[in-house]
Symmetry: C2
Subunit: 342 residues, 2 copies
C-alpha cells in the first residue's frame, strides 16, 4: 500500500535532480545519453509512470482527444451508426500511435455539451460524429466555433461545411454505384434514400446517381425515387411504394446498406430474385453487407483512411495549423447482389 513513486523518487535513485528526470523521460536533447539511461533504468525499476494529471496541469493539455457521437433524441438509446462503429478501432489505433488517449462520449442533440471537454482540459480537441438532421445540430457547431474550440467533424462538404470537415465523396460513390448498375445492363434503377437537405450525405449520393443516369442518356424518373431513412424498414417500404406505383424497376441503389438489405428481404418475400430479376447496390459496407445472401454490392467509405484523416486534421488544428477540409474517395465493392447472370 506504499505511495506511488514520483519523479523525485526516480531522481534520488538515479542521483540526479527532479527536472533532469522530467527532461530525460520526455526526450529533451539537453540531457546526456548516459544520464538518460540511468534515469530510465531507475524509472523502470520503480515502475514509475508520469502522472498525467500533474503533467497535464503543468503543460495545460491532456494529450487526449474526445470522440463525441451525437444523435437525435431517442427513447431507449439507439444503436450507433455502423460506419461510425467501424471507425472506432482504427481511430483508437491512430490515437495510440500518436501518443494520444481517446475519450468517448454520447450526447443528445438537445444537451448542452458545447466545449465542456476542452474547457475542463479533459481533452485537447473533439472529433464529432453526428447523425440525424444536420440542420438541427448546425447551431451547436456555430457555438463551438464562437468559443474557439478545436474540433473536426465527419460530414458532407456540400452543406456549408461548418468547421474542419472530413468527408467521403458521396457524390462519386453514388455515381460509381449507378454506373455499375448501368454496366450490368440495368436501365430502370430506383433510388432509396432521402433527398432532405438535412441529410446532405444522402443528397450527395442522389446527385451522383442522377449524374450517372444522365451520362448514360437517361433522365431520372421521379417515380423511381423513394424517400426513406437508413433503417431496414425503409427498404421494405420503398419496395411497396415502387410496386404500388407500378414503377417497373430492374435495379435499386439504396443510399444505405440497411435499406438495401430491407429491399432484398422485401423482394425475396415477393418472389423476385436478386440479382437475377433485380440488381441491388447499397452504401456503407457495414459488416452485415458481406454476410447477406446474396452478398451485397456496396460502396465503402474506408474506415482506416477516414480515421487517419480525422486524427490528422484535429492534431493539425491543435498544433495551431489551419483547418483544411478533406475529401476521401469512395470505393465500389462488387459482390453478388448486383451481378446479372448471363
Amino acid at each position: 500500500m506504499e505511495r506511488r513513486p514520483t519523479s523525485f523518487d526516480i531522481a534520488a535513485l538515479a542521483g540526479v535532480s527532479q527536472p533532469t528526470v522530467s527532461r530525460a523521460l520526455s526526450g529533451n536533447p539537453s540531457v546526456s545519453e548516459e544520464t538518460r539511461a540511468r534515469v530510465l533504468a531507475a524509472a523502470e525499476q520503480l515502475n514509475y509512470k508520469v502522472d498525467k494529471n500533474a503533467s497535464g496541469l503543468r503543460r495545460r493539455s491532456s494529450r487526449t482527444l474526445a470522440l463525441l457521437f451525437f444523435e437525435e433524441e431517442t427513447p431507449g438509446g439507439a444503436l450507433i451508426n455502423p460506419f461510425y462503429l467501424s471507425l472506432l478501432g482504427p481511430m483508437v489505433r491512430s490515437c495510440a500511435e500518436r501518443g494520444y488517449d481517446l475519450l468517448i462520449s454520447f450526447q443528445q442533440l438537445s444537451s448542452d455539451w458545447h466545449v465542456d471537454y476542452e474547457d475542463s482540459h479533459k481533452a485537447d480537441g473533439i472529433i464529432l460524429l453526428g447523425y440525424g438532421d444536420y440542420l438541427q445540430y448546425r447551431p451547436k457547431l456555430e457555438k463551438l466555433i464562437e468559443r474557439g474550440a478545436h474540433f473536426v467533424r465527419w460530414g458532407s462538404l456540400s452543406d456549408g461545411a461548418l468547421g474542419a470537415t472530413v468527408s467521403c465523396d458521396n457524390e462519386q460513390g453514388g455515381f460509381d454505384a449507378t454506373s455499375h448498375l448501368l454496366q450490368q445492363g440495368r436501365r430502370r434503377i430506383a433510388f432509396v434514400g432521402t433527398v432532405d437537405p438535412g441529410y446532405p450525405e444522402f443528397l450527395d449520393r442522389w446527385k451522383g446517381y442522377c449524374r450517372a443516369l444522365r451520362a448514360a442518356g437517361i433522365e431520372p424518373d421521379e417515380r423511381l425515387q423513394c424517400d426513406g431513412d437508413a433503417a431496414e424498414v425503409a427498404g421494405a417500404t420503398a419496395v411497396q411504394r415502387l410496386i404500388a406505383r407500378d414503377a417497373d424497376f430492374d435495379a435499386v441503389f439504396a443510399a444505405s446498406d440497411l435499406a438495401a438489405i430491407g429491399v432484398m428481404h422485401a423482394l425475396h418475400a415477393l418472389g423476385r430474385s436478386v440479382p437475377a430479376d433485380v440488381s441491388i447496390v447499397g452504401f456503407d459496407n457495414i459488416p452485415a453487407a458481406g454476410l447477406s445472401s446474396p452478398r451485397l454490392t456496396t460502396v465503402s467509405q474506408n474506415p482506416r483512411q477516414a480515421s487517419e484523416a480525422l486524427i490528422d486534421a484535429i492534431l493539425t488544428l491543435i498544433e495551431g495549423g489551419g483547418a483544411k477540409n478533406c475529401l476521401l474517395p469512395a470505393r465500389l465493392i462488387v459482390r453478388e447482389s448486383s451481378i446479372v447472370p448471363h
Copy 2:
C-alpha cells in the same frame, strides 16, 4: 484569446475566496445557500469549468474509467468482437450517468500494458474485454492483481475466474438453444464451436448443449461436434466436415452467430434449405443475425445489463467494496432459421 477563468476569477466575481468556490461547486454543505447561489451564478457567467487536471492531481483520482479491448496479435488490426461493440453504447451511458468519463484503448496480448492507466492516474479503474486464448492472457490478469489494480473483466466464471468477473450464463444459453431445437423435433443436432479450454465461454455453451441432449435421452455424438472459431469460414468448414463424415444432421447449434451465418451460406450453396431441411441457432445476437435470410434464431447476451453490471462492479471496487462475480442470464431469441414448417 484570453485565458480560461480559474476558481480565483470566480471567487473575485462572487466576492468570496477561492476555497469557498471549490466548496460551493462540489456541493459541500458547509457553504451557505446564499453564497453557493452567488458562486454558481459567477461560474455560469464566466463559463467556468473545473480543470480536471488540477482537480485530479489534488484528489488523486480522475473520475475516468478505461475500457480496454485486448486481442490476439493480428497483422492488419482485426475487427472488434461484435458483442463488445454492442456494449459500447450502454457503457458510455452508464458511465456518464455516474459522472465518469470513459477512455478506450486497444492492446495486443503481447504488449506490456499492465496497470499503466491506473499508475499514471489516467483512470481509476479498468474494464477488460478480451478475446482470444484465455490461457494466453491469464498471466496478465495475475500481474494486475499482484499490482493491486482495480479491474473488472467480462469472461467465463468456470475458468478459475481471475479477478472480478461479469459473465453471461453460457451454459444455460447453450441448453436453451439446444432444447429449442429438440422441441422443433430435431434429433441430430450438430455443434459448431471449439471445446478448447482456452475458450471457456465456448466450452460452457457446449456443456449446455450436451446437458440438453442428455435431458432428452440423447447421448452427444462425436461426429456431430465440429471444432472451429467464431469466424464465418468456420461455419463453412464445419458443414464440409459434417458432410464428409456423413454425419446425417438436421440441425446446427453454432456457438457464434458468424459461424451460424457461415453454415447457412454453405447449406444454401449445397441446395439444402434452412429451416425446412436444417434448423440453425446461433449465439451472440450480432446485428447481422437479425438481417440474414432467413433471420437467425440466436442467444442474446443483454448488452445493457452487461454494461450496468460491469460498471457497477468496477465502481464498487474503486470505492473499496469487495469484488463479487456476477452471472447474467442468456435469452433465446427465436427467429426464422430454426422453426420447422408444418
